[in-house]
Amino acid sequence: MLIELLTDKYPGMRFWLTQRLTALVMAAYLVLVILLLVIVQPARFEAWHALVSPVWFRLATILFFASLCMHAWLGVRDVLRDYVFNQGLRGYLQIIVDVLLVIYFVWLCFILWNL
């Protein structure tokens, strides 16, 4: 099973694969949004509102942002591993990124639930 690769038995592959899987989710969402925009062609606020309000769209958007946050977390984690060799500094930088990503995600949920 492919899911096996996401376990801690694969400390390298799980992160590499997660980055690819989240990229696939983001790509699928972008195709969906582009198709919707082409089909619906919302010009006014009401049309936009009607487009993004359905629960399924909000859930898809949350899934997209969760993937984006995970993808960004993995990317920054890679950069920090490559360039920051001081373990303490790397830890602090990682915490800043983690906190920022959580804030962004909560902010997005807040926006979506107040539509």
Binding site: M1, L2, T7, G12, F15, R81, D82
Partner: protein, 245 residues
Amino acid sequence: MKFSIYRYNPDVDAKPYMQEFDVALQEEDHMLLDALLRIKELDDTLSLRKSCREGVCGSDAMNINGKNGLACITKLADLEEPIVLRPMPGLPVIRDLIVDMTQFFEHYNSVKPYLINHDPLPETERLQSPEDRAKLDGMYECILCGACTTSCPSFWWNPDKFVGPSGLMQANRFIMDSRDQAIEERLENLEDPYRLYRCHNIMNCVEVCPKKLNPNAAIANIKDLKIARAKDKKPAKKIFGIKVG
């Protein structure tokens, strides 16, 4: 022809410096190595490795106008003057253009670059079909010059942990060998977060390889194989600490 060459003799020099040379070439001097040997006639303290002088031994790999390559198969006519020569980056310099390749060969050694087969030795050789043999093309030709690994930023940042394109291509060369029986061990040997996964596909290795090989494709193949083989395994019980089965 004008040259600017990295000089460093740790017994004499406090720090490395660039030395300018203006050398008159002979009609038969076509390759960079020919010019270097002319320079050596002017200054025999200039140190470099060389052996086969035809791109087979991999001794004279160096950084030529900012790009790693073999001096013996680099045409002088293709180079812009002054030709700037430096040792390959990312490895300790022993002297002038000679680097200490211990780290490089330790990584090479770590992927067990030899056939592992537990069957009794056959009377003659272990046979392969032409199709299986063809799977080794583009990998067995590697001459271990180190041009790819020392042009890889992932190797520069983590030289002690990341195996590097050359070592990984050799790992893939034995993974793909139909006569080898240690695929599982070989894949597991590369599962650490650093050994294989520091590769971010920037493809400097492909760009510089003097034998026109593609270590990046070999690295991608190792990852693909891991995925393909995992599909046959039992389902996982825990993902990122969460029970799923």
